[in-house]
């Protein structure tokens, strides 16, 4: 067992040492570099930053900054290719964080007005956006405007629960099949088949659902109008299934062969090995797979938009899966064209809720996967 968790002071010391190490490395590399490379690098970074700022401010001078950047990079490429390559790739890496930051900032910025409009009071403190989650009326047209996200959250929860019930067990069973049970030739046929299932665009599912499935369902169950959470959930589950299968299959494959062989050598059946050795060992990876499937189901837009009724409401019986109204995603996709002002900002607020939820799920599954890699890597 490793020693006990470090104290707060030790963590702080370690962090400070890491920072000072980084600074020293930076100082060394700057000291080693030839002066004209430093100048080109400085001009390049400044012009890149300037062109980014210019783009943000819709300035016509952005192109000028861009040209300066290209010239500086070209000069650096010809004279000091290795250094330039390192700097340019560093900038490209930073772009991923930049894009995520931009998305967060811009979505939040657009949603702020409607959060302020829908503030509520709790013990005398004004909480922005509280009324979006405490009252259930959605009225964007006639005064007084009310923007509640609760009907949409209810819809998303219903669809996601049904989709998870479909994609979770069936996906893990299919992953078990591909990684443990299938003979090699069958595996080589089934794996691409699952990937192709992942490739079918969601609007295609939506079209089939709209023209075939919804009318059939309304006829089979004598439902007024078309649109049920049940069948949208089943379709979304079918879409999330390949995600669960591929991530869970990776997790099951990473269980060391020695563990399984050892169990089989003791005379267990394949199924006993799977349930007592493989699945528990890969449990973190499999749960990360299900979490990612849930995230995919939450974010599914087009199939839900096309198959639901697109009028926000909570059914009288909250568990009624036979009537489907609106999810967070279908709200945005169906109303973007006709919404302005606070109505449009409410769509951004729905986007904020979606973004935060999926971010939590993504970070959670990454933490679980990191823990699994530590456990199975033999370092514990």
């Amino acid at each position: 067992m490793s020693d006990s968790t470090p104290t707060g002071q030790a963590i702080l010391d370690r962090r400070l040492n890491a920072v000072s190490d980084d600074l020293e490395a930076l100082r060394d590399s700057v000291g080693d570099a030839p002066p004209d490379a430093l100048v080109a690098g400085a001009i390049g970074s400044l012009s890149l930053f300037a062109s980014f700022v210019g783009f943000l401010l819709v300035s016509p001078l952005t192109v000028v900054a861009m040209i300066v950047f290209l010239v500086a990079t070209g000069y650096g490429w010809i004279r000091h290719q290795a250094l330039t390559a390192r700097a340019v790739t560093l900038a490209m890496t930073a772009s991923t964080i930049t894009v995520l930051g931009l998305i967060t900032v811009f979505i939040f910025l657009e949603a702020i007005p409607v959060f302020q409009y829908s503030s509520g009071e709790v013990f005398g403190i004004t909480v922005p956006g509280l009324r979006m989650f405490t009252q259930t009326k959605w009225e964007p047209v006639s005064q007084p405007h009310r923007f509640s996200l609760l009907p949409m959250i209810h819809g998303t929860v219903m669809v996601t629960v049904i989709a998870t019930l479909v994609a979770g067990p069936l996906g893990v069973a299919a992953a078990l099949f591909i990684s443990e049970i299938a003979p090699p030739r069958v595996r080589e046929a089934v794996k691409p088949a699952v990937e192709i299932l992942a490739g079918i665009p969601s609007i295609v599912y939506g079209f089939i659902g709209f023209t075939i499935l919804s009318p059939w369902a309304s006829d089979q169950f004598d439902i007024v109008g078309q649109g049920t959470y049940l069948f949208v959930g089943i379709v979304v589950g079918l879409m999330a299934l390949p995600t669960v299968v591929s991530v869970a299959e990776d997790a099951l494959n990473s269980v060391p062969e020695s563990m399984k062989s050892g169990s089989l050598a003791l005379g267990t059946t394949d199924w006993q090995t799977m349930t007592t050795i493989t699945l528990p060992a890969a449990f973190s990876g499999v749960s990360a797979a299900v979490l990612l499937g849930v995230g995919r189901a939450i974010g599914e837009t087009m199939a839900a938009t096309v198959m639901l009724r697109n009028s926000p409401a909570i059914p009288e019986k909250v568990y009624n899966v036979f009537y489907g109204y609106e999810t967070l995603t279908s709200l945005i996709a169906s109303r973007y064209g006709t919404a302005h002002g606070n109505h449009m900002d409410a769509l951004f607020a729905a986007g904020v809720v979606l973004f935060i939820t999926v971010m939590f799920l993504s970070i959670g599954s990454q933490m679980i996967e990191a823990r699994m890699n530590r456990k199975l890597g033999g370092e514990e």
Partner: protein, 561 residues
């Protein structure tokens, strides 16, 4: 060790009695297929089979299978057959049977007996606990077959005696739905057959560890088969429904098709500088005209009132340009970031932050990308929807895919390559350029192809940033190459085609669905047009995936011999 002589290395031949559960599993498969056919309304419940109505056939087969299950359990308990049951059926089976009988009890309590909430809860609990106890506390051969067999017998008897007959309906309180026999009977039969078939498979395996192994394998094989069947069914269904519309009016022959002109700078030899046109006779005419030898109206026409056969050309061209733009934006950025992450950076907080950001971007819903494009890109490209906004939004979606797959490809290049190169005195950057990147190229290319397949089918991002017009006529096909113009003031290059709001294949499907619900008189047969359009979209996307999968398979074969 005294136990050695008593253990069995192999079980010997399967006797006739031991083969009976296999026959029952076969019967269960036949019944499963029948019930599926009834659910899909290929047969109806009142059809006569050999003079007997379908519902009677289903019910009696179900009763037979249930009796067989009970017989296996009793036979094994009375030591008539040699089996190796465990002391109890296990927690999973007990919980499953408890749940099933809880629901059955609840339905009996509330519907048959008409009891209130407390009444049916009590009946449900009674049944559920009894089933759970039977499975958990008796020997496995009895505990895993009796509850399953009894459930199948009950369902079969209910259908046989007409308690649920062709005229039965049920309207649960407050749900505003009606359950009809045509959906309930096949669904119940399917479920009962699954449960009874599972118990029969366990009996075939002789109970115990081997029995559970056989039972579990039955369910898992069935699950995998169902998934494959759904995939094949979906693709085949779309192909069959869309084929007539797509191949309508196809002609092959020289000079039969439309003319295409590829023109740079407007195709002439005039250039506009500082607002004045200059004609330069020294420049060659930068345009080229091609007459296609094939006329494929669905893929080459637009949709307009005067067009004979409406087609989807503007949408196809839009999708092509979207993909090209997104790839040009995302691939250099993503490969560069992957190079830095795998070759230069050390495992630290920066790389961790980048990994979290990349994985987060990968999971972000596509509609959120659309909102971001609407808020960030549209104001910066003229305030209206435009092709370039759509390109960049899809590029943002493609970026994390490229980073993740390129990084994986570069990490999988063996370290020996790098070490050998360093031993020859080659610098780090030279090694990356001439050893690592070429070796990782197949993986990168495969990742890009699969990523392109994903974004080519995305609707939500382009819905908010690019999509314009419901059905575009052929002359509104966006012409990006011919749209480039030089101008004097910044930004020095202008392209009106890139700033145009145009259509793409996925958006066209969405627009068609919206039009199906309303009134439109542009397209004569919108539903057939829609199936053809969906087939084209599916064909485009799946061909990307097929190429990607084949290249990955080919390169993996080459790498591992």
């Amino acid at each position: 060790m005294s136990g050695v002589t008593e253990s069995e290395i192999y079980r010997g031949q399967t006797t006739a009695i031991e083969a009976v559960p296999a026959v029952v599993v076969g019967m269960a498969a036949v019944l499963f297929a029948l019930a599926l056919a009834a659910l899909l309304e290929l047969v109806t419940l009142t059809d006569r089979v050999a003079g007997v109505s379908m519902i009677v056939v289903l019910g009696s087969l179900l009763v037979l299978i249930g009796i067989a299950d009970v017989a296996f359990g009793v036979g094994s308990r009375l030591e008539l057959v040699e089996t190796k049951p465990e002391p109890n059926a296990g927690l999973v089976a007990a919980a499953a049977f408890g749940g099933i009988w809880f629901v059955v009890g609840g339905l009996i309590g509330s519907q048959t007996l008409g009891a209130g909430l407390v009444g049916w809860l009590a009946v449900a609990l009674l049944f559920g606990v009894a089933a759970f106890g039977l499975a958990a506390f008796t020997r496995e051969d009895v505990g895993s077959t009796l509850p399953a067999g009894a459930f199948a017998i009950l369902a079969g008897v209910v259908f046989l005696t007409g308690a649920i007959g062709p005229a039965w309906t049920w309207e649960p309180n407050g749900l505003r739905v009606t359950f009809f026999p045509k959906s309930i009977v096949p669904l119940v039969v399917l479920f009962a057959v699954l449960v009874a078939g599972w118990a029969a498979a366990k009996a075939y395996g002789g109970f115990g560890a081997r029995g559970r192994h056989v039972g579990a394998h039955l369910l898992i094989y069935l699950n995998a088969g169902a998934i494959i069947a759904v995939l094949i069914g979906l693709v085949a269904f779309v192909a069959v429904k869309g084929y007539p519309a797509v191949v309508q009016g196809v002609e092959v022959g020289l000079g039969v098709g439309p003319k295409t002109t590829i023109a740079l700078f407007g195709g002439g030899n005039t250039i506009a500088l500082f607002g004045v046109s200059y004609t330069l006779d020294l420049l060659p005419k930068l345009s080229y005209t091609v007459v296609w030898p094939i006329d494929w109206p669905f893929l080459m026409n637009g949709a307009a009132l005067l067009t004979e056969i409406d087609g989807v050309l503007p949408a196809i061209v839009g999708t092509v340009w979207l993909v090209i733009g997104a790839v040009l934006f995302a691939v250099p950025l993503g490969v560069g970031a992957a190079v830095f992450l795998s070759e230069y950076a050390e495992q630290g907080r920066f790389t961790q932050a980048v990994e979290i950001a990349t994985n987060g971007l990968w999971s972000t819903p596509s509609i959120v990308f659309g909102l971001f494009g609407y808020a960030f890109l549209i104001p910066r490209f003229g305030g209206n929807k435009s092709l370039i906004s759509g390109m960049l939004t899809l590029g943002f979606m493609l970026l994390p895919l490229v980073v993740i797959t390129s990084r994986e490809a570069m990490l999988s290049v063996p370290d020996e390559y790098r070490d050998a190169s360093a031993a020859l005195g080659v610098s780090k950057w030279q090694t990356i350029r001439s050893v690592v990147l070429p070796a990782a190229l197949p993986g990168v290319v495969t990742g890009v192809i699969l990523g392109v397949g994903r974004i080519a089918g995305e609707t939500a991002p382009i819905l908010l940033t690019m999509a314009g017009g419901t059905f575009l006529p052929g002359n509104q096909t966006v012409d990006v190459i011919g749209g480039f113009e030089f101008v004097a003031s910044p930004p020095f290059v202008k392209n009106d085609a890139l700033l145009q709001a145009t259509s793409a294949l996925p958006y066209q499907v969405y627009a068609l669905i919206k039009a199906l619900g309303g009134n439109q008189n542009l397209i004569e047969n919108p539903e057939a047009f829609g199936w053809g359009l969906v087939l084209v979209l599916l064909g485009v996307v799946l061909s990307f995936y097929a190429v990607g999968i084949v290249t990955r398979y080919y390169f993996r074969k080459r790498l591992h011999g």
